[in-house]
Amino acid sequence: DQQVKQNSPSLSVQEGRISILNCDYTNSMFDYFLWYKKYPAEGPTFLISISSIKDKNEDGRFTVFLNKSAKHLSLHIVPSQPGDSAVYFCAASPPTGNNRKLIWGLGTSLAVNP
């Protein structure tokens, strides 16, 4: 059973518009949530994270929002650029100490069209 769900396999947006990628989770004990970006034939790269004690974290064009009551987080990219076209993974960390046993979603493929 998927504990971290990314229900949209793909998303297409126009350059300059907002991209919103969604992620739902089932375990209320997760204490950190992370977003990674992955280009074809490359490994994932870290994008942004949020602690469960916060509801928003912002880094440049990227903002992550956390709604604990709904067990939902979203990644906003504003404005979207063609170079943002990649697969975005949501991952969650259970409170098991310093061993990084992240639970990963299946990913959402974002296409930003010029």
Binding site: G43, S49, A91
Partner: protein
């Protein structure tokens, strides 16, 4: 900066053969990880290491072995390859095991077992 380097990039194995996937990092990170990503799926942790001489199982360790004799190297061994081990394998490293610490990934090894 080399970061995390994985070799080989591609490999085809016959059922029952063995091989070692190599991973080395030049960032002096204590923590290293091996993940596999099956088609259309998220990443799953195979093994991880918190420092030289210390390794532990992740979510899907069966069929694999690891060793960590130096800080830099974390090879993954497949002893009796099976078709179920067809996957893309990613090695990663991080300075700490805290989930909020960025993990750096290699480019991946695409393994096919026939």
């Amino acid at each position: 900066n080399a970061g995390v380097t994985q070799t080989p990039k591609f490999r085809i194995l016959k059922i029952g053969q063995s091989m070692t996937l190599q991973c080395t990092q030049d960032m002096n990170h204590n923590y290293m990880y091996w993940y596999r990503q099956d088609p259309g799926m998220g990443l799953k942790l195979i093994y991880y290491s918190v420092g030289a001489g210390i390794t532990d199982k992740g979510e899907v360790p069966n069929g694999y072995n690891v060793s960590r004799s130096t800080t830099e190297d974390f090879p993954l061994r497949l002893e009796l390859a099976a078709p179920s081990q067809t996957s893309v394998y990613f090695c990663a490293s991080s300075f700490t095991g805290h989930p909020n610490t960025e993990a750096f990934f290699g480019q991946g090894t695409r393994l096919t077992v026939v």
